[in-house]
């Protein structure tokens, strides 16, 4: 810290808006010295060249929706806010592709594509604020990933500014392209540690004609999982399949387990799938019904929960455990044993067809919560999975390992970081293994 001087920045980068940063831009309680608002990729490049020369710790930021992810930064001098990069570079509806600047919010993009009855099939939390760049860097997704995949499946090109200020691109704007290494995959999910994404090209999709949701209420988790597997072996293809249980806050909490299957596509096909899904849920022992108003209320609330949720008492954390879908029914009771014995309250949102379990935890104090998380992590690892902490306050982060242990592949990841950002200026320390 202390390497940054606002006057210098203003002199060296005339025209780029740079300000002292307020506490609202702190990352895990660590405030940066300055914040810059570039309006185009050249300004991003100029900022990074300067930061590179002076070895400033830089944190790229879009809407600031996912800044709770990762370890606290080792160093933070400059936050680069990309929301000024908000142009639609190219959008040809008949090609089903769009080239978009990284600072556009997802909601804005959906509005633009919606005029041609198209959309991006991504539903990460808080699309009104979340930018494309943030969604890609944090690899955020939502319930729809069961049907449509994640950003890695629909991004066909990326432009990024590397740590030293070099502008590079990967891929292109056509839907099939194997020219060169697929660096798109490197940037997606890298949490801003290898470059700042300034533009991305996407496959876009025709908007489904109809949506429908079936819900089943189950007293026992065994019956709910039986319903999951019956549905997965059928020819029906829900675009989302979410199993909810426990305490999730107002509007989403209820007794027992609730299984939501969401369908999209041709109206009559959606209607039959909702009907038949209710029958499948019933056969598995649930009380099932169609939820015609789920699009307006339930799905947006569930989508946003990882960001909007807060503990009603004590200290809170949001955890994400990943494993093969059939292992989740073993993981949940093991984790609950670790939670119950320590006086925690908890709720689950399980992406049942995908193999992700999001846990919303409340605990009397931080050491108890940290111990419970570690015990749940051990259960996940035992089942061939992992557990990361998505949200925790800075004091809790100090008491636990956000990412958990990474295998021997960490060595490859360190080499990547060393090649792309040898001075370690981009989000230093926040990623796996302290990268």
């Amino acid at each position: 810290m202390g390497r940054i001087n606002l006057k210098d920045l203003e002199t060296l980068l005339p025209g780029v808006e740079v300000r002292p940063a307020g506490p609202d831009l702190a990352v895990d309680g660590r405030p940066p010295a300055a914040v810059a608002f570039p309006r185009n990729r050249e300004e991003v490049a100029a900022l990074l060249r300067l930061a590179w020369g002076r070895e400033l710790g830089v944190s790229p930021r879009g809407g600031g929706v996912y800044t709770h992810l990762g370890n606290p930064p080792r160093r933070l001098d400059l936050v680069v806010v990309t929301t000024g990069l908000d142009r639609v570079v190219e959008y040809e509806p008949a090609d089903l592709t769009a080239v978009l600047e990284a600072g556009l919010t997802l909601a804005r993009v959906q509005e633009i594509l919606g005029r041609n009855n198209q959309f991006l099939p991504l539903d990460p939390p808080c699309p009104e604020r979340a930018t494309l760049g943030g969604i890609l860097a944090a690899h955020q997704s939502g319930p729809l990933r069961l049907g449509y995949g994640t950003a890695r499946d629909i991004v066909i090109g990326i432009k990024a500014v590397l740590a030293d200020g070099t502008l590079i691109k990967s891929g292109g704007k056509v839907v099939k392209n194997v020219a060169g290494y697929d660096l798109n995959k490197l940037f997606i999910g890298s949490l801003g540690t290898v470059g700042v994404i300034v533009e991305a090209a996407f496959k876009v999709y025709p908007r489904p004609q109809a949506w429908g949701t079936a819900v089943g209420r189950f007293k026992a988790s065994e019956a709910a999982w039986d319903a999951v597997w019956r549905l997965r072996r059928s020819v029906f293809e829900p675009v989302a399949l979410e199993l909810l249980g426990g305490s999730l806050g107002p509007g989403l909490s209820a007794g027992g387990w609730r299984l939501y299957a969401r369908y999209a596509g041709y109206g009559p096909a959606v209607a039959r799938q909702v009907r038949e899904t209710c029958a499948i849920f019933g056969a598995a022992g649930g009380e099932a019904e169609s939820l015609p108003d789920a699009e307006e209320a339930f799905w947006p609330a569930l989508r946003d929960l990882p960001v909007t949720w807060g503990p009603a008492w004590g200290v809170g954390a949001v955890i994400k455990a990943g494993m093969l879908p059939t292992r989740v029914p073993q993981f949940i009771p093991a984790a609950e044993a670790a939670f119950g014995g320590r006086g925690l309250a908890w709720g689950w949102v399980v992406r049942a067809g995908v193999g992700l379990a999001y846990g919303y935890l409340e605990a009397p104090d931080r050491p108890t919560l940290a111990a419970a998380v570690e015990a749940a992590r051990a259960a996940a690892r035992e089942l061939g999975g992992y557990l990361v902490v998505e949200r925790a306050d800075p004091d809790l982060k100090a008491a636990l390992d956000v990412w958990g242990p990474i295998g021997p592949e960490l060595e490859l990841m360190r080499r990547i970081k060393a090649e792309f950002d040898p001075k370690g200026i981009l989000n230093p320390g926040r990623f796996v293994g302290g990268i």
Binding site: A94, D95, H139, L183, K185, I188
Partner: protein
């Protein structure tokens, strides 16, 4: 490679995989000097490991002797990815051909790299599942090669290419270290190594195991053959189907020359006098499939389709597809050689690029057959020629370059699914700046810093394009690289 020291390299390789699993006789090596592309180069040794441990040990031996090595599956690649341009050891993975595990509820298959693509679908079909990426060579090509090249296929229009279906990999790094990358659990923490390895054309690591995503067979499938008297009508039909918000499972096109080659060979029932046919497949829930089928018929008719046939049983469907999948083999009947290209354009540029392909064919004096994944904008112009004619090969590559240059000029790519390999490496600067290529080189250094694994691929050489069109052996001699 210097002859001295080979004796001990041979015995070191034999010690790892056994005497019967190493080839070094020149006659036997000749079989392994080419793949599905034009270039050739002979390896010094071919080894057939049976386990990941043997692969790792072979790689360590190569490191010890400082010899280059290249991994190879069935050798059906179309960009020279498995050609050992600098000689050395060719690691052929076809004996690692076990499907190790299939898990239907999780929709995952765990396979060795030598498993044949179609074998995965055949294994899981009785339970109602399939593996989506289906390259035309799927009866022969291996999963390891598919992952290396990020292979596509007709059904990738709706379901994505190989990279969308690989969940995790076991790899052997070029220094001989075995590593597991990815899940198969989703969103495995850290950089997406599985993602960057897929499509790395065998230049970053040797794959020894892959976790593949399986898909549920759809309830209903309908396959149509739409017959056109004008090529433009067919390509505009493609744009219009997509424009109507329909993404069929497959949307393939073949032109007159292709049809004329295919019919006598495969007897798929394509009318030989048609200018173009579209093979259109829709699948999913039966209500949706019926509705899409009606719309597709209307669009085809609006673009003056002469006839629309529907395959109404599995055998008829199989026969329509046999024509498409057998097209390349059949084209071999029309000329002694062909050069198959793999350009991509934005879908709306299809009618334009097809006219340009015809113009280039006329200008260079070649017949060009077109068979391609129209729905993706991925064209496969197939330039027919006779390599015995003086200068033919050079002119063919110039013609191919002209076509691909057009693709790039309208925002497309020089390769949609075949890879850059040897053939297109010097065209990479059309797409990428030096900074872009340097970023890729950084990634390569992370995995393959000594460049012993599959050297001489993907990145541009210092040679010009025209020189590239020469024979690899001649090139190698000029460069002072001993191949034999």
């Amino acid at each position: 490679m210097a002859a001295a020291g080979n004796g001990s390299l041979l015995s070191a390789l034999q010690a790892v995989v056994g005497r019967e699993a190493v080839l070094y006789d020149v006659d036997e090596l000749t079989v392994y000097e080419y793949d599905g592309a034009l270039d050739k180069a002979r390896p010094d040794f071919v080894v057939f490991p049976r386990t990941a441990e043997e692969v790792a040990e072979v790689v360590r031996v190569c490191n010890r002797y400082g010899v280059p090595f290249v991994a190879r599956g069935a050798g059906t690649g179309l960009s020279g990815g498995a050609i050992p341009v600098k000689g050395g050891v060719l690691i052929v993975l076809t004996r690692m051909d076990r499907i190790q595990q299939v898990n239907y509820l999780d929709r995952v298959a765990v396979v060795e790299p030598g498993v044949i693509n179609l074998a995965v679908t055949e294994e899981v079909a009785p339970e109602g599942y399939y593996y989506a990426p289906d390259p035309s060579s799927q009866k022969a090509c291996t999963i390891g090669g598919n992952v290396a090249e990020n292979s596509g296929g007709p059904h990738c229009l709706a379901y994505g290419v190989t990279t969308n279906h690989v969940l995790a990999l076991d790899i052997v790094l070029p220094d001989g270290t075995p590593v597991h990358v990815g899940g198969p659990a989703p969103d495995w923490p850290g950089y997406d190594l599985t993602g960057v390895l897929t499509g790395s054309e065998g230049t970053l690591a040797v794959f020894t195991r892959a976790w593949l995503r399986l898909m549920r067979q759809p309830e209903a499938v309908r396959t149509f053959l739409a017959i056109f008297d004008r090529l433009d009508d067919a390509s505009e039909t493609v744009s219009d189907i997509i424009g109507h918000g329909i993404v069929p499972a497959a949307l393939e096109m073949m032109d007159r020359l292709t049809i004329q080659a295919v019919e006598p060979a495969v007897r798929a029932g394509y009318p030989p006098e048609a200018e173009a046919v579209l093979l259109i497949e829709v699948e999913g829930l039966r209500e949706a499939v019926d509705a899409q089928s009606d719309l597709i018929r209307q669009v085809c008719q609006a673009h003056r389709a002469r006839e629309i046939r529907e395959a109404d049983n599995p055998e008829a469907r199989e026969r329509l597809w046999a024509g498409r999948k057998g097209a390349l083999g059949a084209l071999g009947r029309l000329a002694p050689n062909y050069c198959l290209q793999d350009g991509v354009v934005p879908r709306t540029k299809l009618p334009w690029i097809l006219r340009r392909v015809a113009e280039h064919g006329e200008r260079y004096g070649f017949k060009i057959a077109n068979v391609f994944h129209a729905g993706d904008g991925n064209l496969h112009p197939c330039i027919l020629f006779d390599e015995r004619a003086p200068g033919a090969k050079e002119r063919v590559l110039e013609c191919a370059a002209a076509i691909l240059r057009d693709c790039v000029d309208v925002g497309g790519s020089i390769t949609g699914e075949h890879g850059v390999g040897l053939e297109k490496q010097n065209w990479m600067p059309w797409l990428f700046t030096e900074a872009d290529l340097e970023a890729m080189a950084r990634l390569k250094r992370c995995f393959n810093p000594k460049d012993l694994l599959n050297p001489g691929k993907v990145f541009p050489t210092t040679k010009s394009c025209v020189e590239l069109s020469g024979d690899v052996l001649e090139k190698a001699e000029k460069l002072g690289i001993p191949l034999v």
